[in-house]
Symmetry: none
Subunit: 289 residues, 2 copies
DNA sequence: AAGCAATATTGCAAATATGCAATATTTAGG
DNA sequence: CCTAAATATTGCATATTTGCAATATTGCTT
């Protein structure tokens, strides 16, 4: 049974004529005529009596009218509650990001995002460890590598240049190098743990491993070592602060890329799509490079 | 809004895939695909998210599902109402019955019935599952319970006594119990699935659950387990066969009753009334008890 | 009773929806 | 990890539905 037939039936019952129903439903008279006939044939009974040039309901028609009106009310309910209501996507989205990004950029971005989508709740997992994405410890990962894990999908949102940073305290103790080769005569903060895999530190360990006096696994902590005069450090430019002195760029190691990644299964989940889109735009606006 | 769109929506929601819905509605996949897209555009919101290659309802979709199911129920009601008006002694009657009854009695009864009413076409749906009577998957159900579903009407056609059955193969292995208490020292075939609700098996699970070695959801299959010597089984007496040894009746659990049921809306449909009457007589003639 | 006006019915052309078949995409089993 | 099966998606030909316009019917007015 074609459910639309009931609309035609209701309209004829109310107007008492095919032409009235046609106007009501904004279709041609002949359509109404043919659809009523088809419907009556289908159910095997007359719904209307053609008397006095009017369509009057038969007994069966009257019974059907009651039932049909209920259905119509239900459809009205759909129109009121569903159509155009554009229900806000909601739910939880878990983002994991390394400290520097998590501290410096994401809070601002997320606050802004929630102005647009207040019902999407964001959970920010700050960690330099790579969270397991396949068992959904996190939905979205912001990661800084030169090439991302192959089973994840996403986009590179920006390129991060690295520089050598110093501080007033360091300068007072040891002076400053003028170029990258002079690092051989200076003291460095190095990486350990997962951070060793970053291109800048691979390069550092290859050329200046002996200069490293202290190692840590957190870029921000590293920047505080610099501030306190413990040594020079290789840091991405986004770690710049007034207390630090940016000396010169590290050309020789390939730059890090910031990737925004998610699991393929989640690609089409609306709330995750929205967050991905927003963050992509936010990052690229910030680093218009 | 096209009211038929809801049919498509409901079907996708239930199947979780476009192809499933297409099979269900007997149209092409691409039709489903396009109608869903059109519908989502029309109401201005996503109804499904594609996760893990499945169509999962969004928040909006869930809200619509509630409303849509009500509407579907109303349409089912209309269908029954219309069919209920049919007073001609011809047409299709769908009967659902559990395997044992369907194999053993109904073919004979139906053949006989059709000698008298060749214009009433019978469709026999053999299943131990309970078919949905509200949407007319079946017109008449033969069911074996102690008390039938409350929204259906009909009559109890006979009482079925249950007995413990064994076989030669079993006797050779374990000997036979002399009374019901000795079952504690024997091995039983038990019920699973919907059949657990039969009084005999409720009682069995209460007193001899530990003796059950194998379970299945089909009485005939159970009787073959008995035949092969796998264990003893509780079976209704109509499962008697020369290969089985009927030991003693189960007095303590209330007997099953065979009910012949139909939907109240179909009560006055002539062809259904005729089938009901004939089957009632056939059953009570067979079991003059 | 004749003519008028409103409504109903039918043939044919245009618009729309559907199925088919080819191409992606995804999943599950080896 | 790769292949085969299942599922989605798209373009194009076909089938169905609809609108238009011409014709028929009904009821009302004069």
């Amino acid at each position: 049974m074609n459910w639309d037939s009931l609309k035609v039936f209701l309209s004829i019952a109310r107007c008492g004529s095919l032409s009235g129903a046609a106007t009501d439903l904004e279709v041609n008279h002949s359509t109404i005529f043919r659809r009523l006939n088809a419907f009556e044939t289908e159910i095997g009974g007359q719904l209307f009596e053609r008397v006095n040039n009017r369509y009057e309901l038969t007994t069966l028609g009257h019974e059907l009218l009651d039932l049909a009106q209920n259905i119509e009310n239900s459809f009205d309910g759909i129109n009121r509650h569903i159509v155009g209501k554009d229900i806000q996507p909601k739910g939880l989205v878990k983002i994991t990001a390394p400290n520097n990004i998590a501290y410096r950029y994401l809070p601002r971005y997320i606050t802004n995002f929630n102005l647009h989508y207040p019902d999407i709740q964001i959970e920010l997992l700050v960690s330099n460890q790579e969270f397991n994405m396949s068992n959904r410890q996190a939905d979205i990962a912001v990661r800084s590598t030169s090439s991302p894990a192959e089973h994840l999908i996403g986009r590179q949102v920006c390129t991060l240049n690295w520089s050598v940073f110093a501080s007033k305290a360091y300068e007072d103790k040891f002076g400053l190098p003028n170029n990258i080769d002079e690092l051989a005569k200076h003291v460095l903060i190095g990486a350990t743990g997962g951070m060793c895999r970053l291109p800048a530190f691979i390069w550092q360990d290859k050329h200046f491993a002996d200069q490293v006096i202290t190692r840590c696994d957190d870029l921000t902590a590293m920047s505080y070592f610099v501030e306190s005069g413990q040594g020079l450090a290789f840091l991405p430019d986004d770690q710049s602060r007034p207390e630090l002195i940016k000396l010169f760029a590290i050309q020789d190691s390939q730059p890090s890329n910031i990737w925004l990644l998610t699991h393929p299964d989640l690609r089409n989940v609306e709330r995750i799509k929205l967050v991905m889109q927003y963050l992509t735009k936010a990052f690229s606006d910030e680093w218009a490079c």
